[in-house]
Symmetry: C2
């Protein structure tokens, strides 16, 4: 499969159509038929490659998150965690319709659907795997202890941001992101977030 | 108003009926008429005292949370924070229908309703005020620095628990609660969660 070939074009068209449909009508209204109509790709082609609307959605949302919120390793853990926290804040507070639609699908009642729950589990598992690069690089530079628990450290940054977003509905901005990253670093340097 | 008098009996009947209605039909189906019917209290009496279904709900959910999840000051900050974290886990994982109904109303799509959002803001503001007692007692015993930010410290405990509950949907138990409380304490003792 060449990146610029027909397969890639079909993939891009389908995933973009899925995000547009999601933004327009939500998860419940999303269907392979609607994605086929909007993308111009025949629905049998979509079924053959993805099998279900959830599989399309998983790939579309995964791509969206990774393009807006890449995991970056800059060579300094303070900076990496701050960049990470700011990127999450930017994603959650984005007013771009496709992003709003995707965030709503992941955190509205649709999220109770077992297939959306599974999609989220996979998405978070992949993100944690990627975030391990930040922590490993910091361990290699002796900025963090070797037994740092990546998942717990990353959770210490993401949890307070999601908490404000979903629970207390307090405002989110870069100052909140920076403070969250700073608190997580204080904790991990003082002995928190250890494996085992 | 005597605590055991008619006013108190009416209040209890109305608030209990509201929680039962909420558990049975969700926020959208809740109405003063339904509450009146279930409680046996005339709807004009309910309207006179509460004005709206949201006002009844705010009081009912507030009472429920405070009865299941009292803020306790035991004389040791480690223990207080652990008890607090465990109580939150117990509340969120309860399978008692009235609790499940209330939690669903606060964190489902109904939460986008501005009146539910306002109810949540008030509920959290009151809980933070109460939690200040835990932190102040610890400051008085020199277990925490005098400029500890209660809201940020409490958020450091509640955020990871809600994060698992609402975002990653990982299991919640007392081990998670204890670890969360321990991490928050490490952070605050190392210099995090300071006012200003």
């Amino acid at each position: 499969m060449r990146a610029g070939g027909r397969t890639a074009r079909v993939r891009t068209a389908v995933l973009e159509a899925a995000l547009h449909e999601l933004a327009a009508g939500g998860y419940a209204a999303l269907s392979i038929e609607r994605i086929a109509e909007r993308s111009g790709v025949h629905k049998t082609t979509i079924y053959r490659r993805w099998q279900s609307k959830e599989a399309v959605l998983a790939e579309a949302v995964g791509d969206l998150v990774e393009s807006l919120f890449p995991i970056q390793v800059t060579g300094e853990i303070d900076r990496d965690l701050r960049v990470f926290a700011r990127a999450l804040v930017d994603l959650l507070t984005s007013d771009a319709p496709l992003v709003v639609g995707a965030v709503r699908a992941l955190f509205s009642d649709a999220a109770h659907d077992p297939r959306i729950a599974e999609l989220k589990r996979e998405l978070y598992a992949r993100r944690y795997d990627e975030a391990r690069a930040i922590v490993q690089a910091a361990i290699d530079r002796s900025e963090l202890p070797p037994d740092t628990d990546t998942r717990e450290l990353i959770g210490l940054i993401t949890a307070p941001i999601y908490y404000r977003f979903l629970v207390t509905q307090e405002p989110l901005d870069h100052a909140v992101a920076d403070r969250t990253a700073a608190t997580a670093l204080i904790a991990v340097r003082a002995g928190a977030c250890r494996l085992g």
